[in-house]
């Protein structure tokens, strides 16, 4: 065998060694790094007088502990909002010497795994951002602490929040967080693009009932072989849309005692039947709707609403902010969400977030004095004017605090602000149970199977209700 083949082998081994030693160095440095800068630990356990319930003495009055307590704040307020949050942190640290806040902004992707492992840790972050459905589950399983006692101890006035917004945060007589931002404020509302009405030579109208919506949507929707060119309106194709319309038809998800699933009521079937007919007859089917709004995400300039291709919109609450960015000169108006005029008991009604209101939870494993500090931080970003309120104002989004929304800057930025406030007052908090995420997905399956024509609306809802009821029954049978 010639030695020419062997040569590269030798060189590569030398190289490999070099690489290997480099790698070892790197990894050694890496492994050493954590020990050089240890994870910020909480202050030494002080012999606390009140080990049990949170101490009622306002801690700000007590001298700052020798070592600062660090509140690791696990949240998804990224991008521009991270900067705003850091400003709140700076203020908070100034007002509370002895407490440091670390802003742990997390990517939204894989939020669920990230949240659960963080909570499962023996050393969890002191405050974590979670959805309302998650809060309920954690509360029910005793993973987080209620804040009811703190609210009493600090004499906080929960009446400063809208009833529905603070109502989202209770479970079994205990309060587990305060809200920020709002869960509602928009689900009751209908936005219309006046420019499109004007361009068509029509007087802008805000449809008040389902049949009015049908008429105007039909008139303005334009289809071609590839799908939708312009849309009058879509009533949506998923569970959240169904729930919004259900409550405008005097329906409900659960019975008052949360033991019965009630969405397959006559009102429910009416609602889904109307949604399916609307989607098929006006939009040309659910696929048309999906395609029309498909693309690089809901919050981009390419969306039909910013391009005079959508007459009526039932958006989420960040819409005002996005409209200012993408189409500041748009003429638009706003009114209540259409209700079923054929049902004498129905009226326009908004939901203050049945699953997706954001909350801030405190893990149970924390030491009392750390819990106390954690609550102070939760209070800052929800209750305090220079905290949560300010954070919302900077973004032009409504706050769950009534007084906060009276700021002039809102009225300046949004000509229809009074209607948003009206909606916040009338929104209801849908009482949900800890298995809601699952019930909601089952409902979504039902809505989809009707939309895709696999089942009739009645059949779809009845099947879904039966399945959801089994989940609810199982839950209650475990608790009794």
């Amino acid at each position: 065998m010639s030695s020419t083949v062997a040569e590269p082998g030798r060189v590569s081994r030398r190289r490999l060694l070099k690489l290997a030693s480099m790698g070892v160095m790197c990894s050694l440095v890496a492994c050493a790094a954590p020990s050089v800068t240890p994870v910020p630990t909480k202050g030494p356990t002080q012999p606390s007088q009140a080990q049990e319930a949170p101490s009622a003495t306002p801690v700000s009055a007590t001298p700052a502990p020798k070592e600062a307590i660090t509140i690791r704040f696990w949240n998804v307020w990224g991008a521009a909002r991270e900067e705003l949050m850091n400003q709140i942190i700076a203020r908070f640290e100034e007002q509370n010497p002895g407490i440091k806040v670390q802003n742990l902004v997390q990517p939204f992707e894989r939020r669920e795994e990230n949240l659960l492992t963080a909570l499962a840790s023996s050393d969890p972050p002191e405050v974590l951002m979670a959805t309302r459905a998650e809060l309920l589950k954690f509360a029910d399983d005793g993973l987080i602490v209620p804040v009811t006692e703190y609210v009493k101890a600090y004499n906080l006035d929960l009446g400063r929040f809208y009833d529905s917004e603070i109502g989202n945060m209770w479970w079994k007589g205990e309060l587990y967080s305060m809200p920020m931002p709002t869960g509602g404020g928009i689900t009751c509302l209908t936005l219309i693009n006046q420019d499109m009405f004007n361009a068509a030579g029509k007087t802008p109208v805000i449809p008040k009932t389902w049949s009015e919506l049908w008429e105007v949507a039909k008139e303005f929707t334009e289809l071609d072989p590839k799908g939708i060119v312009k849309i009058g309106a879509t009533v949506g194709t998923g569970a959240s849309d169904f729930l919004a319309w259900l409550y405008c038809n005097n329906g409900s998800v659960y019975s008052e005692d949360l033991r019965q699933v009630t969405f397959a009521s006559e009102e429910g079937i009416q609602t889904l039947d109307w949604m399916v007919r609307f989607t098929n007859e006006i939009n040309g089917g659910v696929q048309n709707v999906t395609d029309f709004f498909a693309g690089p995400g809901e919050a981009t300039e390419a969306q039909p609403w910013y391009n005079d291709k959508q007459l009526i919109n039932f958006p989420n609450v960040s819409i005002f902010f996005h409209m200012k960015t993408y189409k500041p000169d748009m003429k638009w108006d706003m009114g209540p969400r259409p209700f079923n005029g054929a049902n004498p008991n129905a009226k326009s009604q908004g939901l203050a977030g049945e699953a997706f209101a954001w909350s801030y939870v405190i893990p149970k494993v924390l030491k009392p004095e750390v819990r106390d500090a954690a609550f102070k931080w939760v209070r800052k970003i929800t209750y305090d004017e220079d905290g949560g309120c300010w954070f919302m104002q900077q973004q032009g989004r409504p706050s769950p605090l009534k007084a906060c929304n009276e700021a002039q800057l809102y009225y300046d930025a949004n000509v229809h602000w009074d209607k948003v406030l009206e909606a916040l007052k009338t929104d209801v908090s849908v009482q949900i149970m800890p298995e809601h995420a699952r019930v909601r997905d089952i409902l979504n399956q039902g809505v989809q199977s009707a939309m895709f024509g696999e089942k009739t609306p009645a059949q779809a809802l009845q099947d879904a209700a039966r399945e959801a009821q089994a989940v609810v029954d199982e839950y209650w049978s475990k608790r009794s």
Partner: protein, 309 residues
């Protein structure tokens, strides 16, 4: 090469070492030891805990865990309406993506192994997609698949073919994801390329002298010698396709109408959205058993079709 061995000169003096028989018998275990250590430390408990929890109603959120026997398994096979949907979707995906992936990557590797100009550039181009982070790739493909404005439908229109609602039509969403997976076949292509270097050139020459056509050479020489590599890609393709997750999770979220609800998505929903770790564990065990059985069968048949020089 052997001549380079430092001890080669003493070949004649080589002596048997019967006393080292014990060592000979166990030295292999020493090679495997690091991995074994890692397995015991980091794999054994999580895998066992998966098996154990599949018989419980563990929720990970702290509610008391109870032993429920086979209830989770019964639920999966009899009561969970989405279980079979997820199984069929996954089998569909495997049935198309694995064979098409193997054939495509192998063919491309064959072309790129030819001595023509520009192979370096071609190889880099064909590998390029697999270095794009998944999240960026899915965003790009979302644009490409758009019904009204996507590049793919633009091409179809140009060719006077009917357009396709890639991501909104339940019948087309899976093919769309398979197309996207083919785009990222660079890794298996690289493995084939590496494997092709082990095919001795003179075997081709010999075959050519015998008058074998290109196809005959491929079937008679290349493919048999490549079977270890094909075997590897088949096994890994199966294992990975059974657990297809990322593309559907980011791009379609399981839709439209559950068309891309793959097994892992279903499992994920129960684990992290409904906090039903016990049930998720049972689903995982079912998957584990199926994959293990299938790969064991493939492995067993490998004696008949995989040739190690």
């Amino acid at each position: 090469m052997i001549g380079r061995m430092p001890v080669a000169g003493r070949a004649a003096a080589a002596r048997p070492r019967p006393s080292r028989g014990w060592l000979r018998r166990w030295v292999g275990l020493a090679f495997v030891a690091p991995w074994l250590l890692a397995f015991v430390a980091f794999d054994a408990i999580p895998i066992f805990s998966g098996f154990y929890h599949s018989f419980t109603d563990w929720s990970i959120t702290g509610s008391p865990t109870r032993f429920v026997g086979l209830a989770n398994y019964r639920e999966a096979f009899t009561r969970d309406p989405l279980f079979w949907k997820a199984v069929t979707n996954t089998l569909y995906y495997i049935g198309f993506s694995v064979p098409i992936g193997i054939v495509t990557a192998f063919s491309v590797a064959l072309l790129l192994n030819r001595r023509i100009r520009g192979t370096t550039l071609y190889r880099t181009i064909y590998y390029l997609p697999s270095v794009v982070p998944t999240v960026a790739a899915t965003i790009v493909w979302t644009f490409i698949f758009e019904t009204r404005r996507g590049i793919l439908n633009w091409v179809l229109e140009f060719l006077h073919l009917p357009i396709v609602r890639w991501l909104s039509d339940p019948a087309w969403a899976k093919p769309a994801l398979i197309i996207m997976s083919l785009w990222g076949m660079g890794s298996s292509m690289v493995i084939y390329l590496a494997g092709l270097q082990g095919v001795p050139q003179e075997l081709y020459e010999a075959a050519e002298i015998d008058g074998a056509s290109g196809w005959q050479r491929l079937v008679g020489v290349t493919v048999p010698l490549m079977t270890p590599t094909i075997f590897f890609n088949l096994m890994m393709g199966l294992i990975n396709a059974f657990q297809v997750f990322n593309s559907a999770f980011i791009m379609t979220g399981g839709g439209p109408f559950n068309a891309t609800l793959f097994y892992m998505l279903h499992l994920y929903n129960h684990a992290f959205r409904y906090f039903r770790m016990g049930y998720a564990a049972a689903l995982a065990v079912v998957l584990f058993v199926v994959v293990l059985t299938l790969t064991a069968i493939v492995n067993r048949t490998s004696d008949r079709w995989v040739y190690y020089s």
